[in-house]
């Protein structure tokens, strides 16, 4: 009988190792592979363009910064975009699907990031809000606290790349849903395109939420070529 208890004890320890470390590596790799295969269904481009830079105002970027196409609400659970965040690593390619349902999207090894259907569609003026796990199920937003001001975040669709720049992070209670407003935490009319990422905080807890805001900077149409940083990530991974 005693060896049975020891076995159960070892398995509980193994579960903990899986929960905080091994599981995210396995499920994360699965989600990255799913993101890459979704990207591969879109037309491949070998051209490269330098991203628009608001600090230098490069002329090449001026061509890209026109109004981006709006992705009209996809059906629930449908994967419609991928997200690349160089700060999260060169292999980081995660799928964005419609709805923040746990079973259909957030816990699914083939997706991981969910779009709050109640918020603005991708590309429109307002707040394109996303949710993702901080730990377990591939932890798509596990490194959300590593973002630095000005970090680029790429959202890729069939039409091209939406380039966002990370702006700030804040910590709120789970009930503070005004982070999803068109202008987060405000009731004024939106002029900008905001990308909001929500996840749990502290890590492995559900007591609070961590919210990361990014601002839309430019759109790179697929026919003009991939943004330089994206092409670099793909070459490295």
């Amino acid at each position: 009988m005693s060896d049975l208890f020891i076995t159960v004890g070892v398995l509980v320890l193994f579960f903990y190792v899986w929960y905080v470390w091994l599981g995210d590596i396995l499920a994360g790799a699965q989600q990255d592979a799913a993101g890459v295969s979704l990207s591969e269904t879109w037309e491949e481009t070998t051209e490269q363009v330098v991203e628009y830079d608001r600090d230098s105002g490069s002329s090449e970027g001026a061509m890209q910064s026109r109004k981006p196409p709006v992705v009209a609400s996809p059906r629930e659970g449908a994967a419609f975009a991928t997200m690349m965040v160089p700060r999260f690593g060169t292999n980081y390619v995660r799928t964005i699907a419609e709805s923040v349902d746990l079973k259909k999207v957030l816990n699914d090894p083939s997706t991981g990031i969910g779009h709050y259907s109640s918020t603005t569609p991708l590309g429109a003026v307002g707040n394109f809000a996303l949710a993702g796990h901080r730990t377990t199920f591939g932890a798509p937003f596990g490194q959300i606290d590593k973002l630095r001001v000005g970090d680029r975040i790429y959202v890729e669709t069939q039409k091209g790349w939406y380039v966002y720049r990370f702006r700030n992070i804040e910590f709120v209670w789970p009930t503070q849903s005004d982070v999803l407003s068109d202008v987060p935490r405000e009731t004024i009319v939106a002029k900008d395109r905001i990308l909001t990422m929500t996840s749990c905080h502290p890590k492995t807890s559900t007591a609070e939420r961590v919210i990361a805001y990014s601002v839309f900077e430019s759109f790179v149409p697929r026919k003009s070529g991939a943004p330089a940083e994206v092409a670099e990530m793909r070459a490295e991974s």
């Binding site: 579960f15 957030l106 789970p174 503070q176 849903s177 749990c200």
Partner: protein, 52 residues
Amino acid sequence: MYSALWRVLPGPRWLKILVLVVLVIAVLAVCVEWLFPWIAENFIQQESTVQQ
């Protein structure tokens, strides 16, 4: 439990060890693939969304 298992396994010592290693790997694989995700999904609260 394990002494009974050892007696039941056929063959020489090295074969018994080989079978046990395969069994351990199989049990861990079942845990990682099905059991642990099921526990995490059903018994551990995971919320990354704000209330809508």
